[in-house]
């Protein structure tokens, strides 16, 4: 399983390095979301800074939809979805590999966006350990949910519109937990975010486990 996961993650990341879809499209999209929120709320940093955590995670959430769609569009083109099924790769390994590749892309995106919210919204990125831990746990949760529902939607003609409908409601607890953990860290009381970190970690563990179990049947049926 781990060999297959490394193989799939390496392949997806190599393709991303070549195509630069995440770098040239997803990151600018997320930056535009952050910028537009700033325009909508006005230049008053006393309004923007308290909202920074929520706006940051909404941008990450929407970007995760794009990253997931891209991850599965690789497998639909040229019949490679059949190729995945014929390869003999362990479906759990495919799930873990695709999830890992999306995690790497989202973590890079979050690093860029966190600088963006610091500059645009005047957010002070204190409580670094809680911020980083929240990013890690929330990203694992978001990516695993995205890959599970990406597999559900990928075999359907309406996959582009169906995926957000499936993904966003399920990912809502991650949005809530990550926003609260960041809020606590940004407001100077990072210990207050530990409870939310536990929620994020539990969500990530549950969805990784679900993905490992159901990805094979989803690959067959969807």
């Amino acid at each position: 399983m781990w060999h297959d996961a490394l193989l799939v993650a390496g392949k997806d990341l190599r393709i991303e390095l070549r195509s630069r879809v995440a770098l040239n499209q997803v990151v600018p999209f997320a930056a535009a979301v952050i910028l537009l929120f700033g325009l909508a709320l006005g230049p008053d940093r006393s309004v923007l800074a308290p909202a920074a955590a929520g706006l940051f995670w909404i941008a990450v959430l929407l970007s995760c939809v794009l990253a997931t769609q891209r991850s599965f569009s690789l497998e639909v083109a040229d019949g490679t979805r059949d190729s995945l099924r014929l390869s003999g790769l362990d479906p759990a390994g495919i799930f873990l590999g695709k999830t890992a590749a999306v995690i790497v892309q989202l973590l890079v995106l979050e690093a860029v966006l966190s600088v963006g919210v610091a500059i645009l919204y005047g957010a002070r990125l204190g409580g670094g350990a809680v911020l980083v831990a929240a990013c890690l746990a929330a990203t694992v949760g978001l990516a695993s949910v995205g890959i599970v529902y990406g597999a559900v939607a990928s075999g359907l003609r309406v996959r582009e519109t169906l995926l957000p409908l499936l993904f966003l409601p399920v990912a809502a607890p991650v949005l809530l937990g990550a926003t609260k953990a960041w809020d606590e860290a940004l407001s100077g009381s990072p210990s207050g975010g530990l409870g939310w970190l536990s929620l994020l970690a539990a969500f990530a563990v549950v969805y990784v486990a679900i993905g490992v179990v159901v990805f094979g049947p989803l690959l067959e049926d969807s």
Binding site: D4, L7, K11, R14, I15, R18, S19, L74, A77, D78, G79, T80, D82, S83, R85, L86, S87, G88, L89
Partner: protein, 218 residues
């Protein structure tokens, strides 16, 4: 010796739509069987059934000793399907696609080198991203994957399509070599004369059913 492929009144559905409505055929190990029929006859579905990609609804289907009614997963590593798609990633080079496919199949990636050389995919071509290749070169790359994997059952769906004369001759040579090594080949092709010349027997399909008795090629 048990046949490599044995189907009895095999029925496969896509939803409620019948892909195969009762196909019976038997192909011995080491044989080349040509599956003929008009568009929509069920040729591609037959190959996908044998690859374990389409579930068997009713009837009997045993491929390489695997009963597809009970387990259509185990057979997948033992077959190679060259379909309408090449199963290639556009952003990866020819060599990277080959190595990835071989690693995924649990085969030493060094097998990619002679296969690529045989298909003329060496030098700059081997280092070119597949998305930049012509249709014929993509087809050669997909063939190279098949040659490198060298599965026990080759499932070839219109393998001559998109290939130039030289590549068609090369493909025919590869099929004959595979047969000489004891591989079994199921072949669908509208290149009738070429395909018949390669084949030991011919199976006709119409409307998702096998028609008449399989004929041995003289």
């Amino acid at each position: 010796m048990a046949p490599a492929v044995r189907l009895r009144e095999a029925v496969a559905l896509s939803g409620r739509f019948p892909l195969l409505a009762g196909v019976s055929l038997e192909v011995a190990a080491g044989e080349v069987a040509l599956v003929r029929g008009p568009n929509g006859a069920g040729k591609t579905s037959l190959l996908r059934l044998c690859a374990g990609l389409v579930p068997l609804h009713s009837g009997e289907a045993v491929v390489l000793g695997h009963d597809l009614a009970r387990d259509r997963w185990a057979v997948r590593r033992r077959v190679g399907l060259l379909g309408h798609h090449g199963f290639l990633y556009d952003e990866l080079t020819v060599e990277e696609n080959l190595r990835y496919s071989l690693r995924a199949a649990g085969i030493e990636p060094s097998a990619a080198i002679p296969a690529a050389a045989r298909l003329g995919l060496v030098g700059r071509l081997g280092a070119t991203q597949v998305g930049r290749l012509s249709a014929g070169q993509r087809r050669r790359t997909a063939l190279a994957v098949l040659v490198a994997r060298d599965p026990e059952l080759w499932l070839l769906d219109e393998p001559h399509a998109g290939l130039d004369q030289e590549a068609r001759d090369l493909l025919d040579g590869l099929v004959l070599d595979a047969r000489a090594r004891g591989r079994t080949i199921l072949l669908c092709s509208h290149e009738h004369e070429r395909a018949v010349a390669l084949s030991d027997r011919v199976v006709d399909l119409a409307g998702g059913r096998s028609v008449g008795e399989p004929a041995h090629v003289a």
